[in-house]
């Protein structure tokens, strides 16, 4: 053992000093550094984004119930170092001086909210700021809208049930207000201790009890494990940050998947670069191994020497990689600190463990086949230089390296589908490339013959080095494909986010517009330079029966997760609209949309289209007959279609859309929306002054929150993209470098034979251009395949073709690989022939 260790150390020391380990060391450093910086950064960013989404729950987790929540549960949570807060909410009437309005009454404990903040303003619709106190006893904080609806001002009294409260603040925002812009009532916040005085939670009223929890994730998990068996699915629901189905939650989730994807691709990039480097490392050591064997070294001694050496290289690579990775991500975090709230203080060990694991697994498993080849070099090579390794089968290489990549992906992502998609695309790419390479070789057989110009030399070289070139092509193509996937995914994702909220997205909604006000309002707004969107007719109706079976329980969009008691209904009045035109972002999933012609059905019932989710919850199917009470009238309609509605569009959406002929008898009010820039917010009151009866919904805050998060996430995604691009470029450089060394001998011979520098240079550049072109094309094809699978299976996005990249990828591939080849060639040709020949020894 002693001899092996001292020899391994000596070889390592000298080779490191002479720069012979640079490529393999750089590959390991690159893999560790990129995986570490990417995963460390994304972990921190995810932490920050999770914190942001926690703000929309007002806690890390929330327990809802229809009945008061057991005090013991709260005490146990507190004893387990979890923070708690409570809220009891119900819908109730609020009475002002002369007006009244239905409100969303929320009685909160002093600890509320545990995450995020409650924002207030000094005047209705005024500029907002956060507060960290809650209403005191006898105080009520009112939503801006209520000041208009109840005709009250700060300091006035309002009645809520049996209690009387002083209006002390304008409530602008609570963190867990929800994202639905409609079907929400203005919020009133009071102190939890005052709730009893209102008597609004008596029998028959619909009350939601919430307890908020926050604390260490593991403590929360163990608490939930303790609590879960005691929960009744019918009565309780538990929500955590991860369950967030809001637009923000979805954006964060998509971003997290993207970070995961980027990190996985970084791992593959690292693997590719290590594979290339390990191959080269092994070839360089064929001679020393043959010499040592000739001089009497046993197999086991050779194995020990080289395994030790690879371990030393891996160790050094991992240590350097960690240092560089930490520095890179620290620089990125500091650069981004202004825009993204990433917690600098928090240190995550998982990325470090993953990076070390990646470095070690890649270094060992990807070196396995090259090392086995090295071990099997026959001693006879000292006499016959053409002998290389006795090991010919590449099965082991494919199994070891393929297995290593798959295991790393799976271990890292803990997501079988994303790992399998990437892995399958990789296999398809390799198989396709093999076929193309050999196709190219047969084409090149003709092109490469004849007089020796630079193109002929290039083709001849490609043909002669078929196997080496196919390996090179595959590694170039994989690298380019991975870069394309990361780039195109980012573009598609950011475009989709931005499409949700294009500039000028309506940020205010108006309802209760009468027929006579409609045109006047439109003209008035236009005169003030504010564009108004389409007007939707609305009639308030009560949904009372399905197939003559009465429904009674209340359910709203916010409360859909509540328990079921018999056949559920909307209870409260719903906004009914009618149209022959399907609204934007609505899609028929069952049945067919009511056409422009009145119904021809024999039963003379009108048609209604129902939103899919509410249909599921209310157990409504196609063909069911729904009954609505509108005023004193009863309307019956048959369900002829179910619609999927994109609730993220911030446009008026409706559970029920009737056929216009059904509603002819009713005089509707209208809903519309408009966009008002933030700087004109102060004009709101003047704008609405002539229309006192019109109700205003302010979704500006929500839109800004959403836009803010999307902006931050996009920025973070941008940085991840830059990191992966940088890593990919380095891998390309390493690959060209490695293949340049392989060409060294040939260049030396050509040079010795008197070939002009320009001929050699051009032939090498042409060879690289051909390889880059083919690699780019293959990358574009497999990129399409991977993206299709990723977008449909993992990101739940609309798959799309990316035709421009079919041109861009080959051109960029040819340029980049050609330029890198030219640089490598230039470096070699700057040596004189003697130096070149000596390097070959």
């Amino acid at each position: 053992m002693g001899v092996s260790v001292s020899l391994a150390w000596r070889l390592f020391r000298h080779e490191a000093r002479r720069g012979e380990l640079t490529i393999i060391l750089a590959a390991i450093v690159l893999s560790v550094a990129s995986v570490l910086s990417l995963s460390l950064f994304s972990e921190r960013l995810q932490g920050a984004l999770t914190e942001r989404s926690a703000a929309f729950l007002a806690a890390d987790s929330q327990l809802r119930s229809r009945y008061p929540i057991d005090e013991v549960w709260i005490e146990v949570a507190q004893s387990r170092q979890l923070s708690t807060a409570q809220q009891v909410s119900t819908r109730s009437m609020a009475f002002g001086q002369n007006e009244m309005s239905l409100v969303d009454l929320r009685a909160v404990s002093a600890e509320y909210p545990l995450k995020g903040e409650v924002k207030v303003s000094d005047a209705p619709f005024g500029s907002t700021y956060g507060v960290d106190t809650m209403p005191d006893a006898g105080e009520a904080w009112l939503d801006s809208r209520l000041f208009q609806l109840l005709d009250v001002s700060l300091g006035d009294k309002v009645e809520l049930g049996d209690g009387e409260f002083t209006v002390t603040r304008v409530l602008a925002e609570v963190p867990d207000a929800g994202f639905s812009v409609f079907n929400t009532d203005p919020i009133v916040l009071i102190n939890l201790r005052d709730l009893a005085t209102t008597n609004v939670t008596g029998p028959g009223s619909r009350v939601t009890y919430k307890v908020y929890f926050s604390g260490q994730p593991d403590k929360l998990d163990t608490y939930f494990e303790w609590l879960a068996p005691q929960l009744n699915d019918e009565l309780h629901s538990w929500r955590s940050v991860g369950d967030d189905d809001s637009p923000i939650g979805r954006s964060v989730e998509t971003a997290e998947r993207y970070f995961l994807l980027a990190s996985l691709l970084a791992i593959v990039l690292a693997a590719v670069s290590i594979a290339v480097a390990a191959q080269r490392y092994s070839q360089r050591h064929f001679d020393p191994v043959a010499v040592m064997k000739t001089l009497g070294a046993s197999q086991s001694m050779i194995r020990k020497i080289y395994l030790l050496q690879v371990m030393l290289i891996a160790l050094l690579g991992i240590v350097l990689g960690i240092i560089i990775g930490v520095v890179i991500q620290q620089v990125v975090v500091i650069a981004l600190a202004e825009q993204v709230n990433v917690s600098l203080g928090v240190w995550h060990w998982r990325p470090v463990a993953i990076a070390v694991f990646t470095g070690a697994v890649c270094a060992l498993l990807f070196s396995l086949y090259p090392l086995m080849r090295l071990f099997s070099v026959p001693p006879l090579r000292v006499l016959r230089r053409d002998l290389d390794s006795g090991l010919r089968s590449r099965t082991l290489q494919f199994v070891a390296s393929g297995g290593a990549v798959f295991l790393l992906m799976w271990a890292y992502s803990r997501d079988l589908s994303i790992s399998m998609i990437l892995f399958a695309s990789g296999i398809a790419l390799v198989a396709g490339l093999m076929a193309v390479t050999f196709g190219l070789i047969s084409v090149g057989r003709k092109l490469g013959s004849g007089s020796m110009g630079p193109w002929q030399l290039a083709w001849a070289r490609i043909r002669r080095r078929a196997m080496d070139n196919s390996v090179q092509l595959i590694s170039f193509s994989i690298t380019i494909m991975l870069l394309l996937v990361v780039l195109v995914m980012r573009n598609d994702m950011v475009a989709q986010w931005q499409a949700q909220l294009p500039a000028g997205t309506p940020n205010y909604f108006l309802s209760n517009i009468t027929d006579t006000q409609k045109d006047r309002l439109s003209a008035h707004f236009t005169q003030q330079g504010v564009g108004v969107e389409d007007f939707y007719p609305v009639v308030r109706g009560r949904f009372v029966a399905v197939n003559d079976e009465q429904v009674n329980t209340e359910i709203t969009k916010e409360e859909q997760q509540g328990p079921r008691e018999g056949r559920e209904g909307l209870g409260r009045e719903a906004n009914l609209t009618w149209s022959y035109t399907l609204q934007k972002e609505n899609r028929i999933v069952e049945g067919s949309w009511q056409g422009s012609e009145p119904t021809q059905q024999s039963d003379t019932l009108h048609q209604v289209s129902v939103e899919k989710e509410i249909a599921g919850r209310l157990d409504i199917g196609l063909g069911d007959v729904l009954t609505f009470n509108i005023g004193s009238e009863v309307i019956q309609a048959r369900v002829t279609s179910l619609r999927e509605v994109n609730w993220q569009t911030m446009q008026p959406n409706f559970f029920f859309v009737l056929e216009p002929s059904a509603m002819q008898a009713f005089s509707p009010t209208y809903i519309t929306s408009f966009h008002l820039p933030a700087e004109r917010k102060a004009e709101l009151t003047a704008l609405l002054a002539p229309f006192a009866s019109v109700t205003l919904f302010d979704v500006d805050t929500r839109i800004n929150q959403l836009r803010d998060i999307v902006g931050q996430v996009s920025l973070a995604v941008e940085f991840i993209l830059v990191l992966v691009l940088a890593a990919g470029s380095l891998v390309l450089i390493a690959q060209v470098q490695a293949s340049m060394d392989e060409r060294q001998q040939e260049l030396a011979i050509l040079r010795t034979l008197g070939a002009r520098g320009s001929l050699i240079r051009l032939s090498v550049i042409n060879e690289f251009i051909i390889i880059g072109l083919v690699a780019g094309f293959m990358a574009a094809v497999t990129n399409e395949l991977s993206l299709y699978m990723l977008q449909t299976q993992v990101f739940q996005m609309q798959a799309s073709l990316h035709l421009p990249y079919w041109l861009i990828a080959p051109v960029v591939g040819a340029c980049v690989v050609g330029v890198l080849g030219a640089l490598g060639c230039w470096r070699l040709l700057s040596l004189n022939t003697v130096q070149l020949l000596r390097r070959m020894v």
Binding site: V291, T294, G296, A297, P379, L380, V382
Partner: protein, 231 residues
């Protein structure tokens, strides 16, 4: 020291098996120097590879210092080489990432001999390269590299030394120096020398010459028989 009986070598080619050595039998006595000469492709290097235990015979027997090479596996042959055999090659075959002195130490270390560094230093002086001890092979001239290779071959005081075209890569002046060095050390250590060469002058300096032609050992002459004939 070396005894071969009807050794042959058959290799598999794409056109079927090819016999590159016809049955060969001869003996080399201890302390004797033997040159294997012949045209390129005549099978000289193949024979050397077999004698040195770098390759396996297809048929026949080879005994090296009393040990049956033909029955030994690669590991046993490696051990035997480490203990009893030294090598010199046309292309020097120095390990590029080790210095001159480390290259010389290599066989001693592999064989587990004590004070490898001391032995290497001493022999480096004998070949006149003490001042180049810490230079890497690519910092040495061809002649110097071959002197290092000779020093490496002799460090373990081998019983047999195999040399494959030891002067093949050198100019006339260097070739002469190397030959002198080789025969001087060979005498001092009392090694049996088997070398393959094109160089007639070098072959003449050996006790015996074996001539290879088309895979056959067609002729064997020795200085002693020449002397007898002359007298």
């Amino acid at each position: 020291m070396i005894k071969t009986q009807h050794i042959t070598k058959i290799v598999t080619t794409s056109e079927g098996p090819l016999q590159i050595l016809q049955p060969i039998s001869f003996q080399v006595k201890a302390g004797e120097s033997v040159a294997i000469v012949g045209a390129s492709g005549s099978g000289k290097s193949t024979l050397l590879g077999l004698l040195a235990g770098l390759d396996e015979v297809s048929h026949g027997e080879i005994w090296l210092d009393g040990e049956p090479l033909h029955t030994m596996g690669e590991e046993a042959r490696a051990r035997l080489r480490g203990e009893k055999v030294g090598f010199i090659f046309q292309s020097f075959m120095l390990v590029q990432s080790l210095t001159a002195i480390e290259n010389i130490m290599l066989p001693a270390e592999i064989a587990g001999l004590g004070d490898a560094k001391g032995r290497a230093g001493k022999i480096l002086e004998q070949v006149g390269l003490a001042h180049r001890a810490h230079h890497y092979p690519n910092q040495l001239s061809g002649g110097e590299q071959q002197r290092v290779a000779i020093a490496r071959a002799f460090i373990g005081q081998p019983r047999i030394l195999f040399a494959d075209e030891p002067t093949g890569n050198l100019d006339a002046a260097n070739s002469h120096k190397i030959e002198n060095l080789l025969f001087r050390l060979n005498r001092e250590v009392g090694t049996t020398l088997v070398l393959v060469t094109h160089d007639e002058e070098l072959a003449q300096r050996c006790d015996r010459q074996l001539v290879m032609q088309g895979g056959k050992l067609t002729e064997a002459t020795s200085r002693e028989s020449e002397k007898r004939e002359a007298s």
